[in-house]
Amino acid sequence: MSAVLEVKNLQIAFGGVKAVDGLTFTANAREIIAVIGPNGAGKTSAFNCITGFYTPTGGEVTLNGVDITGKRPADIAHAGVSRTFQNLRLFHDMTVLDNVRAGMHLYGGQNFVDAIFHTPRFKRSEAMYTEEAHHWLDFVGFTGERGVPIKNLSYGQQKQVEIARALARKAELLLLDEPAAGLNHNEKKSLLELCRRIRDLGTAIVLIEHDMGLVMEVSERIVVMNFGKEIAEGTPAEVKANPAVIEAYLGKDDDEEVPADGNA
């Protein structure tokens, strides 16, 4: 197993507040890692640092050995990182298919000359886009209408589309920010199976999640964060028994869930 993502001593401070304070962990290919921790532990901030939306004030992030610390989000996506967002950032007025096509922007083989003159290359490229979009929608198990704008879909369906969009990037690292938030029991089961399917493709998955049941079932390793750094790391069984973790959560049940609009 090769390390896809290496985070070393990551730090970011906002004013005087250290949101992330020395976070270190790795994620390997074909592995599902969950990052958990109480609210305010710094999980989404860490994600934003890794994906370039925040510029870290210290530390290092490498992807397959390449340093991506502090780079622009678009460059980091180029390097092989893809993500979903906690509050679902889809392109609401565009169709489902177009949203998935967004993930495919970086490959496509058409330029504006092709577009204006509808060259064979353009037509092939567009056909490829459509086919791939359908492929990823099938992969996540999306059963809704595909030619309609996003705003027509249910919340669960929208979440699926966002994952399909992220998958269309064909990135080596996939970051999922609270993918289970707001999903019902069946939808969570599908999500679980989906994560495993994604992992089998060879992707490294890192997810932030509050649903302990899901976390325990799906992850191979768990990183527990509190106060901006990792306080424990290991298999689900190890982490469950870790006294530091129990203390951080003060006895949080694995049935307890944060509602869809909860904050990390």
């Binding site: 989000p73 392109f91 169709t95 967004a102 922007h105 496509g108 595909r146």
Partner: protein, 352 residues
């Protein structure tokens, strides 16, 4: 014999209201893929209805305005960049064409390479510093650039100062055949404008066009998908500039004289109105909007004083009540593939 509706069936049997039928009819006409050809045919046949030099003049000007609408639609409609100084690109194109064609005694068409270079440069110069700004500031800064362009044109000798450039040569002369003849030029303009509108529409439906729309809807999500938003915005700007430049070439040869008052903010605002009226991002709508804005004053001559007041109020009304423009909203994508999948699944007995 009287017709009786059973009370229990009144709701389901009620005939559709006239308004809904009209709306559906309009939607179907609009979405019909042959509407472009129909419009082209109308444009080609128009001179047979009225070929007076006045009406040809008006129609040609209206067509040039359509090009501007198409160009601004790329910038505002597709990419969401509020450019209030768009007329600057028309000015750059027109002056480049006018000055060079006069200086080297060339038909205006031959200045095309220079026009392209100058408008691309203009797009870069205006775009580079401003595209990082938030939309309100972008709007005012582009307006500032528009004014700077006009003031520059007014003050430099090479641009002819307040008088501008006059005696601009014809668009194209082949042997004895002068393409600047009103009817010929009109048809030439129809073809060029149709081509430019089609090209802009095709750009909108391509990878780049989608990237523009992603950036417009949610810049951060677009970045996360690997789209370099700055580069994409700059491209929108440059394409808009080039379309404006094309418009400028046609404008210069059509009027044979250009001067600073043609490039007031008023003109930028009118192009914006065309785009807003037509529905930002909806190329077909924008064409109609542009035609309305440019032709309506001709029909409302009596109300000339109130025409711009009306436009201003219209802008407010449209944004408050119908921001997607006056025309029917965009349809969704075809479900062909899904239907095929369903059909396949049905055949193979796989539950979906």
């Amino acid at each position: 014999m009287t017709m009786e509706y059973k009370t229990s069936s009144i709701v389901t049997n009620r005939p559709p209201t006239k308004r809904k039928m009209f709306g559906d009819l309009m939607a179907r006409i609009f979405e019909n893929k042959y509407i472009g050809w129909v419009a082209l045919a109308i444009a080609l046949l128009a001179p047979f209805v009225s070929a007076s030099s006045y009406s040809l003049n008006v129609m040609t000007t209206a067509l040039i305005f359509v090009v501007l609408g198409a160009g601004l639609n790329i910038v505002v409609g597709y990419c969401g960049l509020l450019d209030l100084g768009y007329i600057a690109f028309l000015a750059v194109g027109a002056y480049t064409a006018g000055i060079l064609s006069k200086m080297f005694e060339l038909p205006v068409l031959f200045t095309l390479p220079a026009v392209l270079v100058m408008t691309i440069l203009a797009g870069l110069i205006i775009g580079a510093p401003t595209l990082r700004l938030r939309s309100d500031y972008l709007a005012i800064v582009t307006l500032g650039f528009g004014e700077i362009t006009r003031i520059t044109a007014q003050n430099l000798t090479i641009t002819g100062g307040p008088q501008g450039i006059y005696n601009i040569p014809s668009f194209l002369i082949i042997g004895d055949f002068d393409f600047q003849e009103p009817v010929i030029f009109y048809y030439l303009t129809v073809l060029i404008v149709a081509g430019l509108v089609l090209a802009a529409a095709r750009l909108g439906k391509s990878r780049l066009g989608r990237a523009w729309k992603f950036v417009k809807e949610d810049e951060d999500a677009a970045e996360a998908m690997g789209i370099h938003t700055y580069k994409v915005k700059l491209l929108a700007y440059i394409f808009g500039a080039v379309w404006g430049g094309f418009g400028g070439m046609l404008f210069a040869s059509h009027l044979t004289a250009i001067s600073p008052p043609s490039f007031l903010f008023l003109q930028s605002a009118l192009v914006l109105m065309a785009v807003v009226l037509g529905g930002m991002g909806n190329m077909k709508g924008v064409v109609v909007g542009a035609l309305i804005i440019s032709l309506l004053p001709e029909f409302l001559r009596d109300f000339a004083e109130y025409r711009y007041l009306l436009f201003g109020v219209l802008l407010i009304v449209v944004m408050v009540f119908r921001p997607q423009g006056l025309w029917p909203p965009r349809g969704s994508e075809s479900e062909r593939k899904q239907a095929k999948l369903d059909a396949d699944a049905l055949q193979n007995g796989i539950p979906r």
